[in-house]
Amino acid sequence: METKIYFDKSTLRINNIPDTIKASIPDIKWDNRTNEYRAPACCYRDIILTLRDHQVPYTDHARQFHPCEFPIKTEIKPRPYQYDALNAWKKNGSKGVIVLPTGSGKTILAILCIEQTKRPTLIHVPTIDLMHQWYAVLKNNFGINIGLLGGGENEIHPITVATYDSALLHVTYKGNLFGFQIFDECHHLPGAQFQYTALGSIAPFRLGLTATPERGDGKEHILYQLCGPLCFQTHIHELEGTSLSPYDVITIEIDMHDQEREQYVAARKCYIDFLKDEHIQMSQPNGWNQFLYKSSLNQKGREAFKAYMLQKQLSQASRAKEEKIWQLVRSHKKDRIIIFTQDNDMAYRIGKRFLWPVLTHHTKIKERTYFLDNFRNGLFSIMVTSKVLNEGVDVPEANVGIIVSGSGSIREHVQRLGRLLRPVQGKNAILYELVSKDTSEYFINKRRRNHSAYQRSCSI
């Protein structure tokens, strides 16, 4: 009997499969629940190629896409490293991960890959902003309707951009509609949930793009399993001065006002005393959970939690920092400035105080587009944002960044930095980092300096 393959909820159901094929693909397993053979959807390429190799006749009910042409309507002149990356990826069977610094033209590279692959393509991005940005670039270059999944949009076209979250919801039903999957900022892919967007799709062709493949949890190998191996990589230093702007990092240490310093010291003491009394070690993996639990049990705990929040807020966002922001902004009258904060509260506090536009995940799509457009065309010269702009959103004209507060994660800082490294002629980007002196934040900043992107920083 003929072999038949069906797509079923992120997996493939396979009927009448010859033993020889089964033996060569270990992921094909008998399923007692439904009495048939089953494999994860991502094995589709292996299964089909093996069937063809063995000249086994089969009917493919799984694949719901067909080869199609995507001619590029604009004139793209790829940079040499983009050509090299494209060729390395194609040589690898149109599968694999490409590592390029932020701002080096990953989207253009992806467009070249789509044109060459000639299959309906689903592009995964981490944020709604990035989704809209990809949408605009794809529409411009291919001149066709582009689909969107996420942020309230639900329209599928042969080229569709989706947020990872929405793709995850849809992959169960739509994992067989696309032949090519692109994962932007693909270091997200090995996350506990997001990996199922790759695992549950039959797409035979895959491309992962990132500036920072390293993950805090060491799960990079999952990325290479799902996307294919690392096939091309360049570093910030290799590109700097050619297509990326030169940049400087200036760290400014700020003394708190006396009153805030007193509040900080008192709050920190209350919080630290509570940790000692309750024998909680924050350096332990469950330290934070223990603190959350114990601080909810009684009045003393609740006080300690308030104190924790206060000392954190004061060190990240003191009044003195706000005054410094005003000074810095005044000294850059001709520049376009992005101010980064650790959380939304701080972003809105600054936005309200100085009447500046704030972009967070609370900003609705219409205003988000309006803000970003106006910032790009120069009608807005200042923008305050929390983590929203951390990854890849293209703000080419920004040349001054002010980090008001931030966590210790290396990736976040490289990406914040990367945003300012857009290729605009004659631009000298500056990144200010405001650190409260003699607070826990001060030490986090020191630790961060080991990363290569910070090697040229100086302190004033």
Binding site: T11, R13, R330, G351, F354, L355, V358, Y370, L379, F380
Partner: protein, 402 residues
């Protein structure tokens, strides 16, 4: 659903037990009533006010804070806020930012001069403008609807959420259903499919019933908690079964080895899921009595059989008929509310050979053109199917027996 910090459990050796509350505890019912009163009358209040007022109830409650915060979370989940931004506010922001950007390029060093220019332009006090500027943030959004429930039901919902909070961390459920009722089982499997889960079903060894191993399609290949949320969402449908037992291995992040969760009908949690399609009219029980009186050569009893069908479906017949010479037939009845299951069944019968399944179909279902067409063309139905008016009669069944 509850967040991790609101899920309460106790661990003893290798087992984990959710800390359910007593649904008749007067103190808890009192606090629940206070919270419900606040939420039921919350229309028009902002999220910020609602949080503040419920915090005051939580702080003054004589119950454990973590429980009351859990109740509050469940009520928040049932509250719908208006998340639209007024056009006038969007317009104000546009004007404001264009103007503040213009000021940025001018020679203003002093913040108070900057404020004065803005006040002059907008003819409003700066503090008013500041508080207006982002007044559509979630904290300021008003309530438009709250889905009300009783205080006792809220406590049941809370207990259910405690179990769900643990099930999120499991990869597989093992469910035993004892002396099942066909209609309830059918409903259970409907929920199972709805939540994209698969099941391996085996009859119990010593008792009447089934063991059902439940997980997701990808569990065949990897140990994954991906379906934890599906399993947690599926859980309330188990509560409709009369006699059941559930076991699951709960893998908490901070523990090396999994913990065993064991639960049965004695947890006494009321389900908040609909119990639709599980209705069995009284006439059906009468049918059984009449049949046994009139047809002495055959015996009829509620079916305990399960027939596996293609893919992830199975059929639970209503009755099983046996005669002295050892013939066995199963009878599945389709009432007016069973249109979709009937369409599925007729298609499946076309695909595979089912033996010994009799189909009784309400005549009212023939008003669906698909069903009418399928029935008229089906050779299987001609041999093994019958139509009935309101309720099947003994004669209806007799017509398809050998």
């Amino acid at each position: 659903m509850l967040t991790k910090d609101l899920v309460r459990y106790k661990i003893y050796k290798h087992s984990i037990t959710p800390r359910c509350v007593s649904t008749s505890d007067p103190k808890l019912l009192n606090t629940a009533t206070q919270l419900l009163e606040l939420f039921t009358n919350s229309c028009g209040k902002t999220r910020g006010t609602l949080i503040k007022e419920s915090k005051s109830i939580i702080d003054h409650s004589n119950c454990q804070m973590v429980i009351v915060r859990g109740l509050e979370k469940l009520l928040m989940d049932r509250t719908i806020f208006n998340t639209e931004s007024p056009e006038s506010l969007i317009l104000l922001r546009q004007k404001m930012f264009l103007f503040s950007s213009k000021l940025h390029q001018e020679n203003i060093e002093d913040l108070s001069t900057y404020y004065q220019s803005i006040e002059k332009k907008f003819q409003q006090d700066i503090s008013q403008l500041q508080s207006q500027l982002y007044s559509d943030l979630p904290i300021n959004q008003p309530v438009i609807r709250f889905k009300a429930l009783s205080a006792e039901r809220l406590l049941h919902r809370y207990n259910c959420a405690q179990v769900q909070g643990l099930l999120i961390h499991c990869t597989q459920l093992i469910l035993k259903i004892f002396s099942p009722e066909t209609a309830s089982l059918r409903q259970l499997f409907k929920y199972l499919r709805f939540h994209q889960l698969l099941a391996e079903i085996t009859p119990l060894n010593r008792e009447n019933g089934f063991q059902i191993k439940i997980d997701g399609p990808l569990n065949l290949f990897l140990q994954t908690q991906k379906y934890g949320i599906n399993l947690a969402n599926f859980f309330p449908s188990i509560l409709h079964q009369k006699k059941w037992q559930l076991t699951a291995e709960i893998q908490l992040r901070n523990r090396k080895t999994p913990l065993k969760l064991l639960l049965d009908q004695d947890c006494n949690i009321l389900s908040h899921y609909n119990h639709f399609m599980a209705y069995i009219p009284d006439e059906i029980s009468m049918l059984q009595n009449n049949f046994n009186k009139k047809m002495s050569s055959w015996q009829i009893k509620p079916s305990e059989t399960l027939i596996s069908l293609p893919g992830d479906t199975c059929c639970f017949p209503d009755f099983t008929l046996t005669n002295q010479s050892g013939d066995i037939f199963h009878l599945e009845l389709f009432h007016t509310w069973h249109a979709t299951p009937l369409i599925h069944r007729l298609k499946q019968i076309r695909e595979i050979q089912i033996k010994e399944l009799l189909l009784g179909v309400s005549k009212k279902l023939l008003k669906h053109p698909d069903i009418k067409n399928e029935i008229e063309c089906s050779n299987y139905f001609k041999k093994f199917g019958f139509l009935f008016n309101d309720m099947p009669t003994v004669n209806n069944i007799k017509s398809v027996l050998p």
